[in-house]
């Protein structure tokens, strides 16, 4: 393995491409996402999407915020070569809903809101609540690992550029 600090900078584009692919999958192929995660009912873009274009040694950032915001500007940015660097998502599995943000370069999870759990009213309640919270966090971590794993297999395959990347470009330009 490469030196960790070198690898972080050298491969952060992979995380941004992952989020770009994920947005594309969310908008075009929920069926395949359900195959990747059998508990998934839906995965949707939440209230924040950040894209960055670093072409021509200049950095251009597009931030789309707000519930039900139009994502057209994001698609336009993709056609110009931008990639998603941060995405806020809503994940529904069964009757429960999780909300969280994911950063491309670090794959860090932030702003994670879990489904409601029971309150801690007595010290005896604590263990149950902790185990429930751990289970609920695990669902999101498992989802990310699972999706990233599918993405990276596609990404290192020979037909990434000719098939998947090409479909992403077509999707972005068709709006």
């Amino acid at each position: 393995m490469l030196d960790i600090a070198v690898a972080y900078s050298r491969y952060k584009f992979l995380g941004n491409e992952f989020l770009t692919w994920l947005w594309f999958m969310i908008e075009t192929d929920q069926g395949r996402l359900r195959k990747y995660d059998t508990d998934l009912v839906s995965l949707t873009v939440g209230n924040r999407l950040v894209l960055e274009n670093t072409r021509n040694n200049a950095k251009e950032t597009v931030t789309i915020k707000g519930d039900n915001a139009s994502l057209e500007e994001g698609l336009l940015a993709i056609t110009k070569g931008a990639a998603v660097t941060e995405i806020h998502m809503s994940y529904k599995a069964g009757v429960q809903t999780w909300e969280f943000s994911l950063k491309g370069e670090s794959l860090n999870i932030s702003n994670l809101k879990l489904p409601e759990t029971g309150p801690v009213e007595t010290p005896d309640d604590l263990e149950g609540v902790v185990l429930e919270k751990v289970y609920l966090v695990e669902k999101v971590v498992g989802l990310i690992n699972n999706l990233f794993s599918h993405f990276i297999h596609l990404r290192v395959s020979n037909n990434w550029d000719s098939q998947t990347a090409s479909r992403i470009r077509k999707w972005a330009t068709s709006h």
Binding site: K12, F13, L14, S106, P123, V137, I152
Partner: protein, 204 residues
């Protein structure tokens, strides 16, 4: 920020290596040895140590209280003293004025000014109480997975340093390259391809 917060931030790690002997006893000893001191000492600007999840202001790991099912849940605590710059400025000005009056001079050399400033900071550090910051973590030993409930740089660096010191195990932060290499189940051939991969044409 922690496991019981309504909004959480998580940095994920893979733990490399194995512990010798009884898992819970070994972890207990590591936690006890590197626990944050219960009594605040008047020394350094920052103190870093382990604390318990349930009682973060009074670390207690007795009875393996950090074990929750298959997980170990405890916390990193960083007690930091922050001296307001204006306070330093005030005490510095008072010291300089006193030194000038005592010596009958009209100015001080650069070295004298620096020495006064160091003295002021050292004096104030001893008088100001530290602010505690608590960051929970969940460690599942069997899957070598650890979640740290903060995305901030300094607490993550403190965690990585203290973890290896306490348990002699290394933490590898999971970001795109390490996630691909360690978690995605790539074959050797795919891993080789990963080494040479560049940004997509559309995102270059």
């Amino acid at each position: 920020m922690g496991l019981l917060s309504s909004r959480m931030s998580i940095t994920r790690y893979k733990v490399t290596g194995q512990l010798d002997g009884s898992l819970h006893e070994t972890v207990y000893q590591g936690l006890k040895q590197h626990a944050i001191p219960k009594i605040e000492d008047d020394g350094p600007e920052a103190t870093v140590g382990w604390t318990s999840f349930e009682t973060p202001y009074s670390p207690d790991f007795e009875g393996y209280s950090f074990v929750f099912g298959a997980n170990m849940v405890f916390a990193l605590r960083i007690d930091k003293k922050s001296i307001p710059p204006k306070l330093i400025q005030k005490h510095y000005a008072l010291y300089v004025a006193k030194r000038l009056a005592d010596t009958g001079r009209h100015y001080l050399s650069g070295n004298e000014k620096k020495s006064i400033k160091d003295h002021v900071v050292n004096t104030l550090v001893h008088r100001i109480p530290a602010t505690p910051n608590v960051y929970d973590l969940v460690w599942e030993y069997d899957t070598a997975s650890l979640w740290f409930f903060s995305n901030l740089k300094a607490p993550n660096e403190a965690l990585e340093t203290l973890f290896i010191k306490s348990f002699n195990l290394q933490l590898i932060r999971l970001f795109p390259y390490t996630e691909a290499n360690l978690m995605a189940g790539l074959s050797d051939k795919e891993r080789d391809l990963l080494q040479d991969i560049g940004a997509s044409r559309s995102e270059e």
